[in-house]
C-alpha cells in the first residue's frame, strides 16, 4: 500500500503521524476529508490538517488556510486563485516592492563591488541570461559590463545602481516566471524576458552546462535518438536546468527562452553529427596529406618547382638515379668521407635503378594518395614553414638532411592508412624504410635544419603530417640535388631535415630515399613526423614488416648491410617514436646526429656512418649523438 504513495505523500503522512495523529483518527479524517479532494498536495495537507483539527479549530483553520493560500500563491497550481495574489504582487511592485528593491540596491551598492559583481555574474550563468539582455535594459556598455563582471573593472556608482536594479528586478521576475510558469508571465513585469516586447525578440536559446552534459552522455550512447528518446531528453534537460536554478522541475516553463524543446534537442544532435563528420574529414585529410601542389621554393633544381607532384619528382627521381651512378664513380676517388658516401652512393646507385621503378610507382601512388584525402590543403602557414625548411638545408650546402624526410613520407604514408600502396614501395626501397625509422628525429641538428625543426616542432603532430605532404615533393628534389652534391651518404643525412619529415607520409619521399639516400640519415630527422606517425599503430607495424621485407626484397649486397643495420635502428627508432613526447627529445638527438653527419666530411667510412647513424638513431631518442658518433 505504501508503495502506491508518492514520496511527498509518504513525507506528509509521516509528518501527520509524527504530530500525534492516530490511525483511527486518520482514517476518520480521510472519510471526512473526501469531499474536499483538493487539487494540490499542499492544499491536501492543509485540508488534512483541517480534518485533524476537527471543528474545534475550524475558526482558526480557515484563516490559516487563507493565509497559507496567500503565502502559497507562488507555488499553488490553482489557476484562478492566482489572480488576487498576482494583483497583490503588482501592487507590491509599486509601493512596497519598489521601496524594498531600492533598499536592496542601496545595500548592494554599499558592498564590495567585486563581490556583488561575482554574485550577478553567477546569477547570469545560473539562469543562462545573455549579457545582451542586461545591456539592453540598463543601457550599460556591453564591453564595460563584461569587464566589470569578469575582471572587476571599476564601474561608477550610478551605473552599478542600474545594474543592481536590473538584478533585483530580474530575480523577482524570474521567480515569478517560475512560480507562474503554468499560468503565464505577468505582463506588468518590466524586465519580463527583457524587452522582447520592445523589439519583439526573445532571447536566443542557449544550452546550459547541465543540459549539455546530459546530451553528450546520450550522444555517446546513441548518435541518432528517436523522437521518444528526444522527448525524454527534453524532460531530463529541463529538469536539470530547473534544479540548477534552484527551482522545482515542474516549473520548467519559467525557463522562458532557455526552455529545452524536442526541436532544439534534435538540432543539437544533428549539429554534433555534422561536427563529428567534419572532424573525421579533417583527420583523414591530415593523414593523407595535403595536395601535392604547394608552391616549392626555388631550391636546387627548378624541377623542384611546385608543379604537379608526379612529374617533377619522377624526373628527379630518375635523375637522381642517374646521378648517383656518375657521382659514385667520381666520388670514389674522394679521400674524404665521401668515400663512405661514395660507397653509399654506389650502393644507392645500384639500388636505385630497381628502386626507381617502384619509386615511380610510389610517386604515382603518392599522387593518388595525395589526392585521396579529399583535396584539403594544409594551412598555408604550414606550407611556408616547410619551404623555409627546404631552403635552409640547401643553404647549408646540401647538408645531409632530407633523407629522413624521404623516409618519413613513406612512414607517414603508412600512417595515413595507405599502407597498401606504400608497402610495396617500401619493400622496394629498403633505404626508405630505414629512413623512416630514422626520420623520427627532429630536424634540428643542422642550423638550417633547426629552423626547420623549430618550425616543425611547433606544429602539432597532425599538422606536421600535413606539412609533410606538400613539402615532400620538394625535399625529394632537394634531396636529389643535395645528394648529388655531397656524398650520397651525407646527402641522405641532410634529407633528414624537417622537410623530409614533412614529406613523411608521401610515398614519394620513400621513393626518394630509395634513390640512394642512406636510410640512416634519413631516419634521424623527423621525429616529429614519426611521432605523428607513431600514433598510428598500423604504421609501425607496416613499417616493421616493410623493413623486414626490404631486407629480403632486393637490396643489393653492399646495401644489404646498411639496411639491416638501419632496419634495426629503424625499429628502435620507430619504437622510440611512439610517444608523442619524443618530439621534444628528438630535436636534441637529431641535431646531434645531424651534426654528426655534417662533420663526417672527414673520412667516414660507410661502415662508420652506418653505426653512427644507428647510434644516432638511438641517441636521438635519448643522448647526444655527436660525441659518440664522432
Amino acid at each position: 500500500m505504501v508503495s502506491k504513495l508518492s514520496h511527498l505523500q509518504v513525507e506528509l503522512l509521516g509528518a501527520l503521524l509524527e504530530s500525534g495523529l492516530t490511525k483511527e483518527t486518520l482514517i476518520k479524517a480521510l472519510s471526512e476529508a473526501e469531499p474536499y479532494a483538493p487539487p494540490s498536495e499542499s492544499q491536501r495537507a492543509i485540508h488534512a490538517l483541517q480534518a485533524e483539527k476537527g471543528d474545534g479549530d475550524g475558526a482558526a483553520l480557515p484563516n490559516g488556510l487563507a493565509e497559507a493560500r496567500l503565502s502559497e500563491e507562488e507555488t499553488d497550481d490553482d489557476g484562478e486563485e492566482f489572480t488576487p495574489p498576482i494583483m497583490k504582487e503588482l501592487e507590491n511592485l509599486s509601493p512596497e516592492e519598489a521601496a524594498h528593491q531600492k533598499a536592496v540596491v542601496e545595500r548592494l551598492l554599499q558592498e564590495d563591488p567585486w563581490r556583488v559583481a561575482k554574485m550577478v555574474k553567477s546569477y547570469l550563468q545560473q539562469h543562462n541570461i545573455p549579457q545582451r539582455e542586461v545591456v539592453d535594459t540598463t543601457g550599460l556598455n556591453q564591453s564595460h559590463l563584461s569587464q566589470h563582471l569578469n575582471k572587476g573593472t571599476p564601474m561608477k556608482t550610478q551605473k552599478r545602481a542600474a545594474l543592481y536594479t536590473w538584478y533585483v528586478r530580474k530575480q523577482r521576475e524570474v521567480a515569478q516566471q517560475f512560480t507562474h510558469a503554468g499560468q503565464g508571465i505577468l505582463t506588468e513585469e518590466p524586465m519580463g524576458d527583457d524587452l522582447p516586447t520592445k523589439k519583439g525578440r526573445r532571447n536566443r536559446f542557449k544550452w546550459g552546462p547541465a543540459s549539455q552534459q546530459i546530451l553528450f552522455q546520450a550522444y555517446e550512447r546513441q548518435k541518432n535518438p528517436s523522437k521518444e528518446e528526444r522527448e525524454a531528453l527534453v524532460e531530463e534537460c529541463n529538469r536539470a536546468e530547473c534544479i540548477q536554478r534552484g527551482v522545482s522541475p515542474s516549473q520548467a516553463q519559467g525557463l522562458g527562452s532557455n526552455l529545452v524543446t524536442e526541436v532544439r534537442v534534435y538540432n543539437w544532435f544533428a549539429n554534433r553529427r555534422k561536427e563529428e563528420a567534419f572532424r573525421h574529414k579533417l583527420a583523414m585529410d591530415t593523414f593523407s596529406g595535403p595536395q601535392p601542389a604547394p608552391p616549392l621554393p626555388p631550391h636546387n633544381s627548378s624541377s623542384l618547382q611546385p608543379p604537379p607532384a608526379l612529374s617533377p619528382s619522377k624526373v628527379h627521381g630518375v635523375r637522381y638515379n642517374q646521378q648517383p651512378a656518375t657521382e659514385a664513380e667520381s666520388s670514389s676517388s674522394n679521400p674524404h668521407g665521401n668515400s663512405s658516401l661514395v660507397t653509399t652512393q654506389t650502393i644507392l646507385h645500384q639500388v636505385s635503378p630497381p628502386g626507381l621503378e617502384p619509386s615511380q610507382n610510389l610517386l604515382s601512388t603518392d599522387t593518388k594518395l595525395v589526392s585521396a584525402p579529399g583535396g584539403t590543403l594544409p594551412p598555408v602557414s604550414t606550407l611556408t614553414a616547410l619551404h623555409g625548411l627546404e631552403q635552409s638545408p640547401h643553404a647549408l650546402g646540401q647538408q645531409p638532411q632530407n633523407l629522413i624526410m624521404a623516409s618519413l613520407p613513406g612512414v607517414m604514408a603508412i600512417g595515413a592508412g595507405d599502407t597498401s600502396s606504400l608497402a610495396p614501395a617500401f619493400t622496394n626501397t629498403g633505404t626508405s624504410t630505414l629512413v623512416i625509422g630514422l626520420a623520427s628525429t627532429q630536424p634540428q641538428s643542422v642550423p638550417v635544419i633547426n629552423s626547420m625543426g623549430s618550425s616543425l616542432t611547433t606544429l602539432q603532430p597532425v599538422q606536421f603530417s600535413q606539412q609533410l605532404h606538400p613539402s615532400y615533393q620538394q625535399p625529394l628534389m632537394q634531396q636529389v640535388q643535395s645528394h648529388i652534391n655531397q656524398s650520397p651518404f651525407m646527402a641522405t643525412m641532410t634529407q633528414i631535415q624537417n622537410p623530409h619529415a614533412l614529406y613523411g607520409p608521401k610515398s614519394e619521399v620513400a621513393q626518394y630515399t630509395h634513390t640512394g639516400l642512406l636510410p640512416q640519415t634519413m631516419v634521424i630527422t623527423d621525429t616529429a613526423n614519426l611521432s605523428a606517425l607513431t600514433s598510428l599503430t598500423p604504421t609501425k607495424q607496416a613499417f616493421a614488416s616493410d623493413s623486414e621485407s626490404q631486407t629480403e626484397s632486393g637490396m643489393h649486397t653492399p646495401v644489404s648491410q646498411a639496411p639491416t643495420i638501419h632496419l634495426q635502428s629503424q625499429d628502435t627508432a620507430i619504437q622510440h617514436l611512439q610517444p608523442g613526447t619524443r618530439l621534444t627529445s628528438s630535436p636534441a638527438a637529431s641535431s646531434s646526429s645531424l651534426v654528426l653527419y655534417q662533420s663526417s666530411d672527414s673520412p667516414s667510412s660507410h661502415g662508420q656512418l652506418l653505426p653512427s647513424a644507428h647510434s644516432a638513431i638511438e641517441t636521438f631518442i635519448s643522448t647526444q649523438m655527436a660525441s659518440s658518433s664522432q
Binding site: 509518504v10 509521516g14 504530530s19 507555488t75 521567480a175
Partner: protein, 103 residues
C-alpha cells in the same frame, strides 16, 4: 502557547547562543531570527514544512517562511510583542529537531 513577552537581554544571552550555533541569525532591522534550510528535494522540504506546520498549529505560533523547491527560509518573530519571545525559541528548537531527523 507559551509566553509572548519580549525576551530580555539576559534571556537572549542565555538562549540565543544555542540557536546561533546551529545557524540561526538575527535579522537586521527587526527583532527576529532567521535561518535557511536546504533539503535534498522538494519532498523532503515539504515534509519538513508539514511537520513544522503541524507543530506551529499546535503551538499556535506560526513562522514566516518561504519555500522554493528544496529550500526553506524561516523567520521567527512574535507579532504580539514585536520581537523575539519564548515561543520563537520553542519553535526554533522544534524546527531544529525536525530538520535533524529529516537530514
Amino acid at each position: 502557547a507559551g509566553k509572548a513577552h519580549r525576551l530580555s537581554t539576559e534571556e537572549r544571552e542565555q538562549l540565543l547562543p544555542n540557536l546561533r550555533a546551529v545557524g540561526w541569525n538575527e535579522v537586521e532591522g527587526r527583532d527576529a531570527i532567521y535561518k535557511e534550510f536546504h533539503f535534498k528535494d522538494f519532498n523532503r522540504a515539504f515534509g519538513f514544512m508539514t511537520r513544522v506546520a503541524l507543530q506551529a498549529e499546535k503551538l499556535d505560533h506560526h513562522p514566516e517562511w518561504f519555500n522554493v523547491y528544496n529550500k526553506v527560509h524561516i523567520t521567527l518573530s512574535t507579532h504580539e510583542c514585536g520581537g523575539l519571545s519564548e515561543r520563537d525559541i520553542n519553535l526554533a528548537s522544534f524546527i531544529e529537531q525536525v530538520a535533524a531527523s529529516l537530514s
